[in-house]
Every structure is written in structure tokens, then in C-alpha cells.
């Protein structure tokens, strides 16, 4: 990484500062333009109700997720720029499965939503953690964190073992997936080529002032994550308007179909793991407890928004494998709860 750039010629400096104000200008034009359109069209014709609802739902998921993404990116910047890499190595045990187990409990100290965990997981990989370890953290943290555990308890108490099944299920599934990927002969091939390349670049890059690097990391992470988040939100919002909920609810009372239907619902609604228990409570009278457990474990790990976000970091094949293992394991967990409850 020879970053010893020769001093830039004067004209390049001028071009660069012109470029800088170009983006400031574009940002101003977008914001002022958007506001002007709103003010100019006040009281004008509204969108068709279904489309408007789709937009409202998509915007709502975005407004809800954005602060968690920003927080996740800030933590990721701290890990990448401010925390010495040696600290992470020293804090973690050497035995691989023990390391993964400890990482799956990291969410207890960082109770951000699943979308905030993606930037943090990326930061950890670029700091030297293996992809399998980051996947373990990514899958476990949304469930094994105090906010999720408290809200699940508030919603369901100890009824039907839902809380216990969710906590243990999340822990076991995350470590199972982590173990599977730790067996991969070429661990870094599960990452997208561009992310793997950027890890290489950032690795060992210590020059430059930290604040400057923090700003750069912040902008780069958000450039990767926000487009994915926005596309995920748009799909999640529009699908909810498109698929009548009765279809899923009609399947609720069957021991097998209730589990599958609720997993499909969890995938579609992409709700934050911190509060999905409240959402699920509305279905508590319709669905069997196994379906609810499957919703609460599968949905916290994999959904439309998460798949869109994971696409920034992992290859499609990796995401399909993660989805398949988590899906199967959640199904088994759900059916097991239905058998026992």
C-alpha cells in the first residue's frame, strides 16, 4: 500500500476543491429541490392509496433503521480506526469454537438492531476476524441482546417456552452456521470480491490522520449500506401492500404450515428483532407457539432487509447457504416446540 503520494500539482488542487464544492452543491440542490416540490404541490393530487401505503411503509422502515445503521457505522469506525487490532486479538480466546461462542454473546454489550450489526461485522472482518466469526456474531447478536430478551419476555412471559426456545435457538443456530463456515477451505471466498479487496487495502493502512480516516470510513460504509437498505425497505414496503395478510393467517392453525407461514411473514415484514415480539403478539391467538418461535428466530437473522444488507459483504451463494441453514434449523425448532407445547 504505497501511499506516498507526490505533492499534487496546483491545477489538480484546484480541480479537487472544485469537485468538493460540486458535491456540496448537489446535496443542496437535492434537499432544496425536494423541499420545494413538497411546498409547491401542497394540497395537490395524492398517490393511489395502495402505492401511498407502500411508500409510507418503506419510509417508515427506513426512518426506523437509519439511526441504528448510523450507530453501527460509528461503532465500526471505532473498531477500524481507533481500536488497536491487538486488543481484539488479546481479548478473544484462541480456540475457534470458544471464540465464536464469545462473539455470539457480544450483542449483550452492543444492543443495536440487526441492521446496525452489519457495519460492525464488516468492521470486525476488516480488523482480522474470520468471516465465520463475523457471521456468528451477525446472526446471534439480534437475539442475544438485552433489549430483545426483555421485549420478548414482556410480550410472552414464560408461556410455552417461547422465550427460552428463542434464546437457546438463536445461540445454537448462530454457532452452528459459524461452525459450518469455519470448515470452508477458503474462508475469504465467502466474501464479495470488492469487500475482500477493501479489507486487504485497509489492512495495515495506518497512515493519515485518524479523524480524516474516520470520515472516509464513515462515508464508504454508508455508500455501501444505504443503497442496500433503501432497496430492502422499498421491497419490504411494496410486498406488504401486494400480499394480502389473510393468505398467511389462513395457514396459522396447522402445526407444519403455521411454522412455514410465519417464517415467510418474518422474511417479508423485515421487522427489527428488538420489537418483533410485540408484533407477533397480535398473531398469538391465531398461530401455534412453534410458528411464533420460528418467526422470532428466523426473522431476527434473515429477512429482506438483512439479505439486502448482507449482499454488501457476502457472496450470493453464501447468503443462500446461511438462509438455508437458518431456515431449516428454525423450522426444526418450531416443529419441536409445537410437538412439546
Amino acid at each position: 500500500m504505497g501511499a506516498t503520494t507526490a505533492p499534487a500539482p496546483a491545477h489538480e488542487h484546484r480541480a479537487r476543491s472544485r469537485g468538493r464544492y460540486l458535491w456540496l452543491g448537489i446535496a443542496a440542490v437535492l434537499i432544496i429541490g425536494g423541499v420545494a416540490v413538497r411546498l409547491a404541490t401542497q394540497g395537490g393530487a395524492a398517490l393511489p392509496a395502495a402505492l401511498q401505503d407502500g411508500v409510507t411503509l418503506a419510509v417508515s422502515v427506513f426512518i426506523e433503521s437509519l439511526p441504528f445503521i448510523v450507530l453501527g457505522v460509528l461503532l465500526s469506525v471505532v473498531v477500524q480506526v481507533w481500536l488497536p487490532a491487538k486488543w481484539i486479538e488479546r481479548a478473544l480466546p484462541k480456540t475457534p469454537w470458544l471464540r465464536r461462542m464469545l462473539l455470539s454473546l457480544l450483542g449483550i454489550f452492543l444492543p443495536v438492531c440487526e441492521c446496525g450489526n452489519v457495519p460492525l461485522a464488516r468492521g470486525l472482518v476488516s480488523r482480522g476476524l474470520s468471516p465465520a466469526e463475523s457471521i456468528t456474531f451477525l446472526l446471534a447478536a439480534p437475539i442475544l441482546n438485552p433489549v430483545t430478551i426483555i421485549t420478548t419476555y414482556q410480550a410472552f412471559g414464560w408461556d410455552h417456552g417461547i422465550l427460552i426456545a428463542r434464546i437457546l435457538g438463536g445461540f445454537v443456530i448462530a454457532n452452528l452456521v459459524g461452525w459450518v463456515f469455519s470448515r470452508h477451505p477458503e474462508p475469504h471466498s465467502v466474501l464479495t470480491p470488492s469487500f475482500a479487496a477493501s479489507c486487504q487495502t485497509h489492512h495495515g493502512e495506518e497512515q493519515g490522520r485518524r479523524w480524516r480516516r474516520s470520515i472516509a470510513r464513515f462515508a464508504e460504509e454508508l455508500s455501501t449500506l444505504l443503497p442496500a437498505l433503501l432497496v430492502g425497505c422499498a421491497i419490504a414496503g411494496l410486498i406488504q401492500v401486494g400480499i394480502p395478510r389473510e393468505w398467511l393467517e389462513a395457514l396459522g392453525a396447522n402445526p407444519l404450515w403455521s411454522v412455514l407461514a410465519l417464517m415467510a411473514l418474518a422474511f417479508v415484514v423485515s421487522i427489527c428483532s428488538n420489537v418483533d415480539a410485540f408484533f407477533m403478539l397480535a398473531f398469538g391467538s391465531v398461530f401455534l407457539p412453534g410458528g411464533i418461535v420460528a418467526f422470532l428466530t428466523f426473522g431476527a437473522m434473515v429477512d429482506i432487509k438483512m439479505v439486502a444488507l448482507m449482499r454488501t459483504t457476502f457472496r450470493t451463494a453464501t447468503i443462500v447457504q446461511i438462509t438455508a441453514i437458518v431456515g431449516l434449523a428454525s423450522l426444526v425448532l418450531g416443529l419441536g416446540v409445537n410437538l412439546l407445547a
Binding site: R20, Q42, S60, F62, A216, P227, V286
Partner: protein, 250 residues
């Protein structure tokens, strides 16, 4: 420049749009159209931090990363043909325009009544104050959700019997008995609009169709009476009203 746009400025622009929209909603008192009040402070604070980063990134020269922009471009050439870069840039521009439209140009609104179609309106799954807590509270401040919780409880007959409810909500025509009455409902939000569930109370008011449209907002006063499988609100007066500034209940 395309590389710098996709890798760096795209995120700055999208963050700026998201944060400005969030702060605008906060200061115009409309954030409640999208998220639960318990997130207001956190959301606004993070939007403020994001704005600071955005402004610093836009104003300070972007110096450091120029060093390996070239490397990336070089590495990118081996993997991705030029058309993919053009496609990514076009997609990104469309996304930025769509985000500007969705977040800033379109006015924020509440969910339409049509999402409540065919949904169970009872308060069976609603979290919040329990019927026991409500029985001790002042009924003057009760929302349609509180009344629905009391009705679902089944043991709150005493409270309902003597109540003089004044309920605000939107009209949902009852597909089974469209003539004699309707349901008055509101969406209950637990986290964000995605989890909004309609919760309502059945209102008895023959001939209501001549006065209200399905989905319009009304204020109903009357008494609860027991009927068949539960309690219904027998309307003494019902007036059309404007949609409240806070259409959701929490």
C-alpha cells in the same frame, strides 16, 4: 469520478437526505407518523450526528483516500467490465432521486384504511396498559385502543357499563352487517408503521352511510351495551372530524 461517487459521495448524499428528512419530521412534529415516540430522541440524536459527519465530509477536502482510489479502479478493471460501473452509477442516481422523492418531496401521511381490510380489530394482541390498570385510570383520556382492551378483557363490564365514551377513529364498514353500524378504529403502533395493527370498537348507528364515508375520521359519543358476543358502542352522537395530528395510538 464515477468511482468516487459510488464509493464515497453516494453515501454522503443518501445520509444527508435521510438525516434532513428525519430532522424535518422531528421539528414539524410528524415523526410519530413513522415511528413510536420512544425512539424519537435516539432517532433525532443520531440524525444530528449524521448531519455533522455529512457537513464535515462535504466541507473538508477529501484527501486521504485519493491514495488508493487508483488501486481500486485498477483492481475493479480486472473484475468488472465498464458497463457494470455505468449501470451501478445509473442505478445509484435513480435511487438518490427516488429517495429525495420519498423522503422530502412526498408529504408524510398515515396508512390508509385499506390495510385494515379483513384484519381482526379486537385488542387481543395489543400491548400496553392492562384492563386492571385502565379500570383505575380516568376514562376521559381513553383512546379507542383502551376501550378495546377493556372489551377484550371480558371482566371489565362494570367500567364499561357506566362509561360515557367519546371515541375518535376512522370508519371501517362491517362487511357482515353494513346497515346497522360500523367499526371505529385506529392503528396501534409498537415500533414503526410496519407493525401497525388496526384496533377498533363496534358502533351501532343505523343509516351511518348517508353521513360518513368508509375510511373517514369521526368522533362518536354514546354508551356501551352488551350484545351477543361482546360490547358495542351505541352512538348518541357522531360527527365527522379532521384526521388528528397524531393518527396512531401507541
Amino acid at each position: 469520478m464515477r468511482d468516487a461517487f459510488l464509493r464515497y459521495w453516494q453515501g454522503i448524499l443518501l445520509t444527508a437526505l435521510g438525516a434532513v428528512a428525519t430532522l424535518w419530521l422531528t421539528f414539524s412534529g410528524q415523526l410519530g407518523l413513522y415511528i413510536h415516540p420512544r425512539y424519537f430522541v435516539f432517532t433525532a440524536v443520531m440524525a444530528g450526528i449524521a448531519i455533522v459527519f455529512v457537513v464535515v465530509a462535504l466541507v473538508l477536502p477529501r484527501q486521504h483516500d485519493d491514495a488508493h482510489e487508483g488501486e481500486h479502479q485498477h483492481a475493479g478493471d480486472e473484475r468488472a467490465p465498464a458497463w457494470r460501473g455505468r449501470l451501478a452509477a445509473t442505478g445509484s442516481i435513480l435511487l438518490i432521486v427516488a429517495t429525495t422523492a420519498g423522503l422530502l418531496a412526498l408529504p408524510p401521511t398515515t396508512l390508509s384504511r385499506s390495510l385494515a381490510d379483513g384484519r381482526d380489530l379486537s385488542a387481543a394482541g395489543v400491548v400496553g396498559e392492562s384492563a386492571i390498570q385502565l379500570a383505575q385510570a380516568d376514562p376521559a383520556s381513553f383512546t379507542v385502543k383502551d376501550w378495546a382492551v377493556l372489551i377484550a378483557d371480558g371482566a371489565s363490564g362494570g367500567v364499561l357499563q357506566g362509561a360515557r365514551p367519546q371515541v375518535v377513529g376512522f370508519v371501517i364498514a362491517d362487511p357482515d352487517a353494513p346497515e346497522s353500524g360500523f367499526a371505529i378504529a385506529r392503528y396501534v403502533m409498537t415500533c414503526c408503521t410496519v407493525d401497525a395493527q388496526p384496533v377498533g370498537v363496534h358502533v351501532e348507528l343505523p343509516g351511518w352511510q348517508e353521513r360518513f364515508e368508509d375510511g373517514s375520521w369521526v368522533e362518536v359519543r354514546g354508551r356501551f351495551v352488551e350484545s351477543g358476543d361482546g360490547w358495542i358502542l351505541q352512538a348518541e352522537s357522531a360527527e365527522p372530524i379532521e384526521q388528528p395530528a397524531e393518527p396512531y395510538v401507541y
